[in-house]
Amino acid sequence: MLIRVTSEVLRTEDAVAAVESPAAGAINVFLGVVRNNNLGRTVRFLEYDAYPAMAEKVMRDIAIEAQARFELEDCAVLHRTGRLEIGETSLLIAVSCGHRAASFEGGHWLVNEIKKRVPVWKKEVWDDGEAWIEGPESLGIQQAPASMR
């Protein structure tokens, strides 16, 4: 299992190599990449903050749970921090498993759980300002009174 929070560029081949297994019939790779727009605004770049030690711990908990739920052979979950330009990879997930269906489901479930509870934050920087984004799926927003969502 490969779990990492890093300011270094994320390389797809590292994640794939980490999950390769003779028992795997499928390896599914997901890249979360920086988009140049959000909610109608032009995004210049993103700045990611993280609580690295806890983020890695929570990512590992999620990966262990995914392995059990979807009978995955192995998982790699990497998140980048710092300034990321448009098109760069912020989140890299690879899962290996016996058959393809579980590799898609397991990968999808992993991304959703990461967005709920891993302590990582993105700031959008626009031409005319900036703002920290509060993920609509995050537990913090989900637990808030309905009027604040």
């Binding site: 806890m54 912020s90 891993v118 302590p119 993105k122 920290w132 984004i133 537990l139 913090g140 604040m148």
Partner: protein, 81 residues
């Protein structure tokens, strides 16, 4: 008796610091430490409804007791991915 408080993202910007050391009082919980922080930094008040808390890297309820030497992280709504 001391607690280290870690601040991130929007919360760190509001306070102008990423780390604070606070004196603990007997019987302190996450909520009482948080309330003392809000007294000192009123600009935190509007963050409270969506804030989560972690003690030594584990999510906890705000009723959890805080022990000497603990690290308390204030976790605003996450937005990784």
């Amino acid at each position: 008796m001391q607690v280290t408080v870690l601040l991130f993202a929007s919360v760190a910007e509001r306070v102008g610091a990423r780390k604070l050391e606070l004196q603990l009082e007997p019987g302190d919980s996450v909520a009482t430490v948080r309330d003392r922080l809000v007294e000192r930094f009123p600009q935190l008040r509007e963050c409270i409804p969506t804030l989560l808390y972690a003690l030594d890297e584990n999510y906890v309820k705000d009723s959890s007791p805080v022990s000497d030497g603990a690290t308390l992280a204030l976790i605003p709504p996450v937005s990784g991915g």
